[in-house]
């Protein structure tokens, strides 16, 4: 007993040594910052003057704000519901394709990653131009749609841009995931006479599950927090058709003449709780393992 107990203690200590550097940095610059902004969410805080405690009023002010449930929440949910599945499936397919022994693979991989490298300002400029009424997209499709200045098409257009720009990143994660699967497993399975669909079903997918969970979680966090491209391409318009939760948060925090950091922080924590719940739900589906 004493031996195992000691061994256990040693293991604990080793584990803490392993996580110590992260814990220090994260604990100071993330946790403390989050605790402070959690405090702000219970205050009236305009940045210039010290925060004044007002209790949970800001949470009510967020939930009662007409734009919150009418525009920001539905827009964010729609955005996430389209973008997350699309980018996950597309990037998984591309990762498989680029994991093959194909010609010019280096070139293809780099090309696929290019959208992730292009700065969001430039993406904004280029896509505003591609989707303009007389732009390339309309010319190709023979249409006359003002994509980014139409209440119906503005959000879908930004969804497309986002799928385009994040697929490369997700592809890279899946590529790394596929490569982390030791070849010995496939060899053994091949010797046992497994077919490739069987190998995909019984080796690749189960082993990839933690990585799929990672990619989907990343997608959920990214889409629930979408801001950059909207800020650059539509500024939340036209008529709030692309106003998302973080767009509202940004406006409350820094957008108006009088900042309302209290309400912005409250909205940020409401959003974080929502993301956390969604993530835990999908974790039940994707990550059922014993560790």
């Amino acid at each position: 007993m004493t031996y195992t107990w000691r061994r256990k203690l040693a293991d604990w200590l080793t584990a803490y040594v392993f996580i110590l550097p992260v814990l220090l940095g994260w604990g100071i610059f993330v946790v403390v910052a989050l605790v402070m902004s959690l405090y702000f969410s219970f205050t009236s805080f305009n940045l210039l003057k010290p925060p004044q405690w007002i209790g949970p009023v800001n949470y009510a002010r967020v939930l009662q704000h007409p734009d919150f449930f009418r525009y920001a929440v539905p827009n964010t949910l729609k955005y996430s519901a389209v973008v997350v599945p699309a980018q996950t499936v597309l990037s998984l397919i591309f990762a498989f394709a680029l994991d093959q022994k194909i010609r010019a693979r280096d070139f293809f991989r780099t090309a696929f990653y290019l959208p992730s490298v292009t700065s969001s300002v430039v993406i904004g400029i280029i896509f505003v131009w591609l989707f303009s009424p007389k732009g390339v997209i309309n010319q190709l499709l023979g249409l006359d749609v003002n994509w980014l200045y139409n209440v119906k098409t503005a959000l879908p257009t930004i969804m497309m841009v986002n799928i385009w720009s994040t697929t490369g990143t997700m592809m890279l994660i899946f590529l790394a995931g596929l490569q982390d699967i030791p070849s010995e497993l496939y060899e053994a399975a091949a010797i046992d006479g497994a077919s490739r669909p069987q190998m995909f079903r019984y080796i690749t997918i189960p082993l990839l599950r933690p990585v799929i969970f990672f990619v989907v979680t990343l997608g959920i966090i990214g889409t629930f927090q979408v801001f950059d491209q909207i800020y650059i391409m539509t500024k939340g318009g036209p008529l709030k058709a692309t106003t998302t939760i973080v767009y509202l948060i940004y406006f409350w925090a820094f957008g108006d003449v009088t900042p309302d950091m209290g309400r912005a922080s409250a909205a940020a924590f409401i959003l974080a709780v929502a993301i956390f719940v969604v993530t835990m739900v999908q974790r039940r589906f994707l990550e059922r393992e014993e560790v």
């Binding site: 305009n46 210039l48 303009s132 009424p133 007389k134 003002n146 200045y149 209440v151 108006d256 009088t258």
Partner: protein, 462 residues
């Protein structure tokens, strides 16, 4: 470990890429660097050499004679450091400011100005800094944001310093200096300003055989000319963007206001404003005006540059923009047309303000006084980037020779500051959406403006 073989290779490549990138930088045309930044270079030299001298107390060769005098004084009294922040304009304007700062360092040898530009999200950063008491001594203040800073008491009243330095309020355009006055105290010296002018494309006017606009134009003249141009050339005569920085002048010209006098209520649903809204949005419905989004751009200045619209209401920033991007555009500008109740315009202005936390407000004010002196303002004016805030310059020959600059400068006479109080951006958004609802959803102006007014009132009540 065979598997780790790649690690040294990667490290080597990284180092190689750093070196190559670092080397690659200056190669393209080194000569030009020296040309464009001569002024800045000098500043740096002066600063570093003097600092050395203070420490070592030995005499050294100095760049110019004036500086030599400076140095002798320097040894007895160390320089006061003053920090200055602003948002960044074009590289040309940056260099102009640095040149002015250099001139001022000669005039105020005991003051060392440290320039710290904020390249983006200026208000987020400056407000965060003010909140922790670490803001610069001097910073840019837009009139749109001024009421918030004034009511929070974070700015230094400068009347006493003005008296000491012999700077009088009367030297500056009334609209501008009054805009930066709050509860009887002056808080900022306007550095420059802009108003809206009616920019017109001469070629399209010639093509349609329409006389060029004049300062005496009215709404009817605008409509008649725009209709003729639209019919004759197929290019829209005018532009009516859903832009809260353009539309309000039509309300002013119709005798209305956006906000009441103490900014506690909006007057956007007043009959004057609604009537102005009908004229403005009607222009597009009747086919003689467009919104920039109709031609696939976000800003009407770009549409004007491309020749997609014959007239736009824009500010003096159009001049460097058109010079840069559309040098062939043949254009001029006059005052905006008058409405049923006369002239009306918006004035956009920026001042230098001093922080209440400043440890050296006197040195800070001396710097401001120098940056806004007549000498400095002449340089600003003749560079063509901005219009000076001093009355004395209204008869400067540059304005006589530049009709566009003159129209923008003299527009200040009828102008109201672009400022809607403590929730200004909410007002802006509500106004933009009021117009968009009419354009995109065909809502009536009355209903749309009423909805906007209610949104604004709800925000003001919070």
């Amino acid at each position: 470990m065979r598997r780790f073989k790649w690690f040294p290779i990667i490290t080597a490549l990284l180092i190689l890429s750093i070196v190559s990138a670092a080397c690659a930088t200056p190669t393209p045309e080194v000569k030009v660097v020296k040309e464009t930044v001569v002024v800045t270079k000098e500043v740096e030299k002066v600063v570093t050499k003097e600092v050395e001298k203070v420490v070592t107390k030995e005499v050294e060769k100095v760049v110019t004679k004036e500086v030599e005098k400076v140095v002798t004084k320097e040894v007895e009294k160390p320089r006061t450091e003053v920090r200055l922040s602003g948002w960044t304009a074009s590289p040309e304007e940056e260099n102009l400011l640095r040149a002015l700062l250099y001139e001022c360092s000669l005039q105020n040898p005991d003051i060392l100005v440290k320039y710290e530009p904020i390249p983006s999200d200026y208000w987020a950063k400056i407000k965060t800094m003010v909140g922790s008491g670490t803001e610069p001594d001097i910073y840019y203040m837009d009139i749109f944001q001024f009421p918030f800073f004034a009511t929070q008491g974070v700015l230094q009243p400068i009347d006493d310093y003005m008296a000491k330095e012999g700077v009088s309020r009367d030297e500056f355009l009334d609209t501008l200096i009054n805009a930066f006055t709050w509860e009887g105290k002056t808080y900022g010296i306007p550095k420059d300003f802009n108003t809206l002018g009616l920019f017109y494309n001469k070629d399209l006017f010639d093509q349609a055989g329409v006389d060029y606009p004049t300062n005496d134009w009215t709404w009817d003249d605008l409509k008649a000319a725009a209709q003729k141009i639209t019919d004759a050339t197929g290019v829209a005569g005018f532009s009516v963007p859903p832009d809260p920085g353009r539309f309000p002048i039509f309300v002013f010209q119709n005798g209305g206001q956006i906000m009441n006098d103490d900014f506690t209520d909006t007057l956007l649903d007043s009959p004057e404003a609604i009537e102005a809204g009908k004229f403005y949005t009607g222009a597009r419905a009747e086919g003689w005006a467009i919104i920039p989004q109709d031609v696939g751009v976000g800003w009407q200045g770009e549409a004007f540059g491309k020749g997609d619209v014959a007239m736009v209401l824009e500010g003096g920033w159009m001049v460097p923009y058109l010079t840069n991007q559309f040098p062939d555009r043949n254009y001029s500008a006059v005052h905006p047309p008058a409405g049923p109740k006369g002239e009306g315009n918006l004035v956009f202005t920026v001042a230098y303000v001093i922080s209440k936390n400043s440890k050296n407000p006197e040195a800070a004010f001396k710097t401001i006084a120098c940056l806004t002196s007549e000498e400095s303002q002449v340089k600003v004016l003749t560079s063509g980037f901005a219009l000076p805030s001093r009355k004395a310059l209204q008869s400067h020959e540059y304005l006589q020779n530049n009709p566009v600059a003159n129209a923008i400068f003299t527009g200040a006479e009828f102008a109201t500051p672009f400022m809607w109080g403590l929730k200004g951006e909410t007002v802006n958004q509500a106004m933009a959406q009021a117009l968009e609802r009419v354009y995109l959803e065909g809502m009536s102006v009355e209903e749309s403006f009423k909805q906007a007014a209610e949104e604004i009132r709800a925000a003001l009540k919070e």
